[in-house]
Subunit: 132 residues, 3 copies
């Protein structure tokens, strides 16, 4: 099964919890055991698993900003969003999750987040479910 | 096949080679060709492939520490372990490996490591093997 | 299907677009729906998805260098290439892509790059295609 979900971001850098949407796709598919591949077809957004806690979400924004704060290094990109491209590639645009007995296997403090790095924008999340 | 392995870490930051455990799971499954998905259901640990060399393991600890050393940025997390969450999300909590003719495909200098980022703790490693 | 491709790098740090090679492997396999796992069996190279733009490729080199520029931290590795190992593990050596209706699903600005971190060298790219 392949499902596409549209997400609208509000800020330039933003963490958006998409766990419910992924879990719903797994339920709809009625798969018992297999894999769920989550993918964003964008080069200025990423995916991470982290805890959904307000303070930590702010820390993520500070942390990502700190990694690309040497702006003098990034003078080449026409759209002036080199930071967005670099962080997107660094975090990666895909995650693979295990489905066991109809449920996503993940830890209590692991939620799935779209990381917007050049918002606000419309983003697409693609979920592929494979049985096995 | 789904297998869970428990690992006990000793230090706050620590690299633990889990290659043998993953290889044993592949052998037990008798799979010829397919994929092995390795996953840690934690938000303060990660997985990497790197060389098992004493000096390099120390360099990993220095490197990870250097990425989150701006402590003034991270004041929001209640448990005072923002660094652990950020590095866990950055490294990622899953790896996908190819199984070919009954063996994990990997380079001579590529070992699979659990990266403990908030130890000492009991950790779980989940291995899912898919034929195909 | 399992395919191996050899790539020759020219510089110490270098981004090499391997999108055509991966797309060709997908075409050769005649797979309609499934997954393509791309893997480099090396501990001093990585894989990323990013835009193929000259300025951005230069920014990637600057960015990666900036992450490991505290050389005083990395004195342990015999071969004097701790930076290569650390960045390889950080970027990761695998990517998983979705195949839909015979084509790789990816965004307009997402190309697949081998990131050479200790060149010049001969590198191997392994592509595993799974139907499903």
């Amino acid at each position: 099964m392949l499902k596409k979900i549209n997400i609208h971001s509000q800020n330039r850098y933003q963490l958006i919890d998409i766990t419910k949407e992924i879990e719903e796709a797994v339920r709809e598919d009625n798969v018992v055991n297999g894999l769920a591949v989550v993918f964003v077809p964008h080069s200025t957004a990423g995916l991470i698993l982290t805890e959904n806690e307000e303070g930590l979400k702010k820390d993520w924004i500070s942390f990502l900003s700190s990694l690309v704060q040497k702006e003098e290094l990034f003078h080449n990109k026409i759209d002036n969003n080199a930071d967005s491209h670099l962080l997107s590639g660094l975090l990666g645009q895909n995650k693979i999750l295990i489905i066991d007995s109809g449920h996503l296997l993940k830890g209590t403090w692991q939620q799935i987040f779209l990381v917007e790095l050049d918002g606000p924008r419309e983003r697409t999340i693609i979920i592929k479910i494979l049985e096995g």
